[in-house]
Symmetry: C2
Subunit: 514 residues, 2 copies
């Protein structure tokens, strides 16, 4: 509401008024979603048992590969798996048993304690897009992402009411050397925001840097005893665990930091074309990954991840917001809950090249599904465009606004207090209206979710103001937000120490761009 | 696929090739949706019982108004209600008892028997937008709707694979006199399409014309014994039943034709600002309306309707795709099922002035919710724009494409046959890919829903083709569909008789434009 209000008031206003407003703006962050509505469950007991049985058969008979990772093979051998080269075959029941030491929920601490999140249970934590090498906005078009773009996204996430989490690689800062960009990214999350964030996974040493920088930000003792990062470990589906991802996972597990262990599925390419087959593979992969994570450190927080899209058999492109991806996600949520693990899936997925109607249909399909599938951690919840190749500034703001819809839906239907509104119905009676009645007066401010972006104006006003579409409104809002951004307060000694750590680390290595 | 295929093949092709393709196009219509997934239920038993009890209290203590309708008051008096002026107070239990004679599902026959629909149970029948006085397209902008527009929409609905129903007043043909336009609209539904349709409700005599024209189309005896129309009777919420709507309802009920009995709710104006309060009023209104319908003719098909939006307390505009509207709809579905009635709600609702991202977010929120709320008849399932003031040609095509997503989701997760894909997982193994495996070869054609409109092309192709957005693609597709339209075959004698009926009726009355 702050932005919407300032937009209205500042029209034609002078610089002094704008400055005065700016200093009064507060960046409210909603509490993570606590669901008061049921999950959608598409698998019946027979289907669940079949998929669980089949996943165990796959682990035992086919197995999974741990590539270039002799230590992992040793850990598996010791745990009772059958090792054949890099192939790990896991006897029935072993993976599930190992998974049982992972907690069903955990707290990820933010440096602002009010913004710490509990991942798991009936909760849903929302984090922005992750990984795009390109960015797009209306002014500059599509281009390689830079650190400047990255910082802008961190600021927007910090200021977005419905985002609980600052995310990780919100875009790839391609102007910074590959071996150094994690340092700048972490520093940006730590200094430009006070929301929780993710660590680096592109090298075990970078995961260690992430842990060390958290030691500076939170204090080393605090980090030893608490989870302050949730990081993303992708599985190379089908059933391959590479040494880089596993190396990072090992660092995080040893340090009791949370890992999302996530098959990366483009259905028809990395998994079978059927929903049941895909779910079988996803479950087998996650069980193997989480079991390994628990072998490294029993009790460290792990999330059942599932990145799901399907392939367009005409063009070979991944497609998003499709019914099959939704069915896989609904089913994966059920499997995760039966495994007692927090669940990560869904996001602002779309294949569109622009933040247009296609993007919004596909995104809304996925966001709604994510809420109803019981997702606990939703990466990519805003800003995703073009199959994940692009982080779009306008779409970031558009999606972040829509996340408010999920918060509203999750409330369910209260029937306590004056919610039944019997006095109002009696007061108004047949043929009346509720606009002025006592119940409306008492409740209208909080009764309805209201977009802070979309157009609710009369046609004539909208027409006179230039027939602006959603993207145009988002462009205006995005710029206003960045203009109004204020850095959260931090202990200057901590900031200095972080700056020094990053400067020293960067100076210690030659630049590498691959 | 026909349109998508012809679009690609015809690029650079000659007129002869296009004509040859045109004659080979078939307009496939999907069967109505039979759900194989559960409904979302947001009300627990305590909430359901409270709302049901409160609705009975409202009917007994506050009552409803039947305006300018002495015959209705007589029927109610005879049934045991308490009549005070136009106020009808209904003793507890009476309305529910009267509702019990309405069927829980019914067949609405189409003149093409393959396109008849069963309304109720686990089914979902999709019909287009209803009622807008304006139309919009990219070429002509926003303008008053005409009969020419109306006919175009009927043709598009006929050719749209995922639409099962031709609807009713898809737009208001404002160039035809008010007292005659129902004749032209019905004729268009009957001759330009072979899908089921709706009758006129703007005057009892026009409802009778609808029945009489169906007598010509289907045969009088057939119409006597079968339901061939589903028509929309709105309640003037709160709790007012006007004589025009009730007069039409009486005509349809007497002729055993189906009526949707539908509160028209803008939450905060026509109903309380709380979800529980709105549901209480909706249930009371529907029970009174269906009970009255059953008083006119026990056993005639009636649908529990709920048109739900909420008011934006800043601008006074109705808002769509909002969480509160979804919660009301989920709850209303539960109440309808407990009353044993088919349920009508949801649609391609949006407040946007353009078919842009706002329109698509709001629409997707509502379409997904409609499927999951157990809606049996979804009016407005495509083409709605600007709070229902506008029927948009491009959005019609865009939404109609998205209805395919609902068909895919409703399939659920089969586990029979080769769905578990164990052979495929064994065949491919760790590190392989599924593109060429036997299971994929056998299933890829039907495995994934595929849009026939949205952009799945590589970025470079999309860029070279002019960076077209969804609206532009829909404009192209809409024109191709209309160019390829072919009228369904009909007995020339029936067509002649319908033409004669309409001509005679129109000649018998002076034009009226109000």
């Amino acid at each position: 509401m702050a932005e919407a209000g300032s937009r209205r008031r500042s029209r034609g206003g002078g610089g002094a008024a704008r400055r005065a407003e700016r200093s009064s703006i507060s960046f409210e962050t909603a509490k993570y979603i606590e669901r008061n509505i049921p999950n959608v469950e598409v698998l019946n007991e027979e289907a669940l048992e079949l998929i669980e049985t089949n996943a165990e058969i796959i682990l035992e008979e086919v197995g999974v590969n741990f590539v270039d990772n002799p230590a992992a093979l040793d850990r598996w051998r010791e745990a009772g798996a059958d090792i054949d080269g890099e192939r790990v075959r896991i006897p029935r029941g072993l993976a599930r048993k190992l998974c049982s030491t992972a907690p069903s929920e955990y707290i990820q601490h933010a440096r602002n304690p009010e913004k710490s999140v509990t991942v798991g249970g009936r909760n849903l934590v929302l984090a922005p897009v992750y990984g795009p090498p390109f960015v797009r906005d209306m002014d500059g078009g599509r281009r390689y992402a830079t650190m400047d773009d990255f910082e802008k996204f961190v600021k927007l996430a910090y200021m977005s009411k419905w985002l609980h989490h600052s995310g990780g690689t919100v875009c790839e800062p391609t102007d910074i050397p590959v071996n150094k960009r994690h340092l700048d990214m972490l520093k940006a999350h730590m200094l430009l925001s006070d929301k929780p964030f993710m660590g680096s996974v592109t090298e075990p040493s970078r995961a260690q840097d992430s842990v060390d920088m958290c030691g500076i930000l939170f204090g080393k003792d605090f980090v030893k005893d608490n989870t302050v990062m949730t990081s993303l470990t992708n599985i190379n589906s089908p059933m391959t665990f590479d040494d880089v991802m596993m190396g990072s996972l090992e660092v995080y597990a040893k340090n009791n930091q949370a890992c999302i262990i996530s098959p990366f599925i483009v259905g028809g390419a990395m998994a079978p074309v059927s929903v049941a087959g895909t779910l079988t593979q996803v479950l087998a992969e996650v069980m193997a990954g989480v079991a390994y994570h628990q072998l490294v450190r029993p009790g460290a927080p792990a999330i059942f991840g599932a990145f799901v899209s399907s392939i367009d058999m005409n063009s070979g492109a991944p497609t998003f917001g499709t019914p099959e991806a939704s069915l896989v996600t609904y089913g994966a949520g059920q499997l995760a809950r039966r495994l007692g693990l927090p669940f990560r899936s869904a996001g602002s997925f779309c294949g569109s090249k622009l933040p247009d109607a296609q993007a919004a249909y596909e995104t809304a399909n996925s966001l709604n599904m994510g809420l109803l599938a019981g997702v606990n951690f939703m990466l990519h919840s805003c800003g995703w465009l073009e199959g994940g190749l692009v982080a779009d500034f306008e779409k970031f703001v558009m999606d972040a606004d829509q996340l408010g819809v999920l918060h509203g839906l999750a409330k369910g239907v209260p029937i306590d207090g004056d919610a039944p509104a019997m006095d109002a119905i009696r007061e108004v009676g047949p043929g009346g209206h509720y606009l002025g009645c006592a119940h409306t007066q008492a409740n209208f401010k909080t009764a309805f979710w209201r977009s802070e972006l979309l157009d609710y104006k009369p046609f004539e006003t909208w027409y006179e103001e230039g027939e602006r579409d959603t993207r145009t409104l988002a462009n205006i809002k995005m710029k206003q937000m960045l203009a109004n951004y204020q850095k959260p307060a931090i202990d200057p000694a901590v900031e200095e120490a972080l700056e020094a750590y990053v400067a020293e680390k960067k100076a210690s290595m030659p630049d590498a761009f691959t």
